[in-house]
């Protein structure tokens, strides 16, 4: 008994030690010729439903760039690290990418609180952190001139989005009575906060305010309340996979056509609309991108992604794909993969994304065009693209 247990113990500890050390010694030989890029995203647990798309988007972009001969002859080597959507794991993942894999560039994370915890780590190691999916305004409040020199965000902030949607809904559709049904996260909450800031300008009022937790599936109670309070539109800054659930329940309660969804949450994808066409009709969304966007680059992306992964890309897939391309162009313009040079290049970049030109302000926040669309006859119809300067609070 003693012997076997001790042996087992030794075996297990040997295995743990050797994998740790083994992982540590995996430094690549031709470091000069590859660009090391790390992706931090939730890949296990409930949040994996966002991380999976992020990873695929980035993979696709890297593959295309490498197939085309790389950037100035340098290939991109992609490392992925699981954040599980928790700050501790996210920081561990980041640390590992920086110290073990020796990456110079990191794209991540989806969850804002993870990104916020990653920022000081990247800053400390002087590694370029590109965020492509967190919307917490703080991330860029404290970046660039706000402090963190190495954080950039290629994702729209909620303020611009909220303004565009509120303005269109009020001025073009004449809505004045609104109900809030958004996700209970920094994204949902801050978008609604900004909406509240602008609504009075358009004589709009909010009749009820509800936030749902991630994974919520039962909206009947809230929708019944909205039916009874007579709101004309539901302000919904939600999660992509919740939109079809809400749409179906709008249908179920006989609210289709009586109340309109406005906000953001992949209202425009074919599957969402198909889930409840009558409920989605007339919905207004401000999106950074949509699969039907009519540009060759965007169409090519959708096609390639669908072919490679057997499912249509979503917004997370796109933003990560786009951010890899953005980084590639910055490296090309810098003429080298030197972090410092790439950072300089990024600040001055004028990147042509599939939806328009992207530049960065002094807080390292991308000025992104926001596409406003309306669902008409079961198809998204683009009503315009808006870019606005972000106003930063005085520190």
């Amino acid at each position: 008994m003693t012997r076997t247990i001790t042996r087992r113990f030794l075996l297990v500890s040997a295995a743990v030690v050797s994998t740790t050390i083994g992982a540590g010694s995996m430094t690549t030989v031709n470091a000069a010729e590859t660009i090391k890029l790390g992706i931090v995203a939730p890949m296990s647990g409930p949040n994996a439903r966002y991380g999976g798309f992020s990873m695929h988007g980035a993979e696709l972009a890297v593959k295309d760039i490498n197939d085309a001969g790389g950037i100035n002859g340098m290939k991109i080597e992609l490392f992925n690290a699981d954040s599980q959507g928790t700050p501790v794991e996210g920081v561990s993942a980041t640390r590992r990418l920086i110290d073990q894999d020796e990456v110079s560039f990191i794209i991540g994370d989806v969850s804002s609180s993870v990104t916020l915890a990653m920022q000081p780590v990247a800053e400390d190691a002087e590694v370029l952190l590109l965020n492509a999916a967190s919307s917490n305004p703080k991330i860029t409040y404290q970046a660039g001139v706000g402090g963190f020199k190495w954080t950039y965000r290629n994702y729209p902030t909620d303020e611009n989005r909220a303004l565009v949607v509120a303005k269109y809904a009020a001025e073009q559709r004449g809505f004045t009575k609104f109900a809030v049904l958004s996700v209970d996260s920094d994204y949902g909450r801050s978008a609604v906060t900004f909406t509240k800031k602008y609504l009075p300008d358009f004589k709009g009022e909010i009749l009820s305010e509800d936030y749902y937790k991630e994974g919520e599936v039962d909206f009947r109670s809230v929708l019944a309340k909205i039916r009874d309070n007579g709101a004309q539109a539901i302000i919904m800054y939600g999660l992509a996979d919740t939109t079809p659930i809400i749409a179906r329940q709008i249908l179920e309660l006989g609210l289709a056509g009586k109340v309109t969804l406005i906000g953001n949450g992949e209202f425009n994808t074919e599957k969402t609309i198909k889930a409840a066409p009558k409920a989605m009709e007339g919905a207004i969304e401000a999106a950074a991108w949509l699969p039907q966007y009519d540009s060759p680059a965007s169409k090519a992306f959708v096609e390639k992604f669908t072919a490679a992964y057997n499912e249509a890309p979503n917004n997370h897939a796109y933003v990560h794909w786009d951010t890899v391309n953005l980084l590639a162009q910055a490296i090309k313009e810098a003429g080298s993969a030197d972090k410092e040079a790439v950072r300089e290049a990024l600040s001055k970049i004028k990147y042509k994304s599939p939806v328009g030109d992207v530049t960065f302000d002094d807080h390292n926040q991308a000025r992104l065009p926001m596409i406003l669309l309306q669902i008409e006859n079961g198809k998204p119809s683009i009503k315009g693209a808006y870019t606005a300067e972000i106003q930063y609070p005085a520190n």
Binding site: S44, P46, A48, K213, D241, G254, E311
Partner: protein, 290 residues
């Protein structure tokens, strides 16, 4: 005013039915094993995934997908039951927590690994609204309600009259004595476990059409919803679980309507804690009343 209240109560009952079918399996497993199954929601997820796979990949009808979803879960549950649950007879509570958490991690992340982490859309089922009592419900919800009642009537009968049912009662009363009277305890645990997992899967398949979104992590939320129910229902108590599920369903509905949707997930545990302060031994007797 009254009609809103009535509508919310009905909503709550429908939600409660879903919880009840999942929770009853969990509570029966507790009855025979004295262990909380933190992986129980994963069988709900597996059932949904099986059905999604059947409709999306195999192109089967929704009815056929129910069978595929439940059967595939039964197979997985049988393997887990053989390898893990059977061996947990008489293990301390801590081991139960860790082992079932391990199983949850394995099941959840294997599905993510195989099918990809992204969410899927479930198409199929009967989602057209019908009108009753002046408000509308999807047909599927009526199916859920009916199935829930059938399940509980069936369980009552099974527990009272079938051999497995009697063995389950015996095991939950006293594990030591079962060995003496020739009841194979691990076998009873295994069968109860597979039955419980199948019920969870059934609940998953039935709700898939109205819940639409299918993804690997969906089981965790259901586990958390059912945990307070099984405690309130009196661990191992089938009827108590039914009542507790209905109470929670209705309470959630009312909280979502009159207080705010953001507090909905807290209702279960808040109700549980309040109830435990009032009656530390639960609303119903823990003496397994199968």
């Amino acid at each position: 005013m009254f009609s809103t209240l009535l509508e919310q109560v009905v909503n709550g009952i429908v939600t409660g039915s879903v919880y009840a079918i999942v929770a009853v399996g969990m509570t029966m497993i507790f009855g025979v094993l004295r262990a909380i199954n933190f992986a129980h929601g994963e069988y709900y997820m597996l059932g949904t995934f099986g059905a999604w796979f059947a409709t999306d990949y195999l192109g089967l009808s929704y009815e056929a997908s129910i069978v595929v979803g439940v059967l595939s879960t039964v197979v997985v549950a049988y393997v887990v039951g053989q390898l893990v649950m059977r061996r947990m007879v008489g293990a301390p509570a801590e081991s139960g927590v860790l082992a079932t958490l391990g199983v949850a991690l394995i099941l959840q992340n294997t599905v993510i690994f195989v099918f990809g982490g992204g969410y899927k859309f479930f198409s199929g089922g009967y989602i057209e609204p019908v009108s009753i009592l002046g408000f509308t419900l999807a047909e599927q919800r009526i199916i859920i309600l009916v199935v829930c009642l059938l399940v509980f009537v069936g369980l009552e009968l099974m527990v009272t009259y079938s051999r497995l049912g009697m063995a389950m009662r015996a095991v939950s009363q006293n594990v030591e004595c079962c060995g003496v009277v020739g009841i194979d305890v691990p076998q009873v645990v295994l069968r109860t476990f597979v039955l419980g997992a199948a019920l969870a899967a059934l609940s998953g398949v039935l709700t898939a059409p109205v819940n639409v979104s299918v993804y690997g992590g969906m089981g965790e939320l259901i586990t958390f919803k059912t945990l307070p129910i099984i405690i309130m229902g009196g661990l191992g108590n089938v009827r108590g679980t039914f009542v507790a599920a209905m109470i929670l369903g209705i309470a959630e509905s009312l909280v979502a309507t009159y207080i705010g949707l953001q507090y909905r997930d807290t209702v279960g545990f808040a109700t549980l804690i309040l109830m435990l302060m009032w009656r530390p031994h639960g609303l119903f007797s823990t003496q397994a009343r199968f």
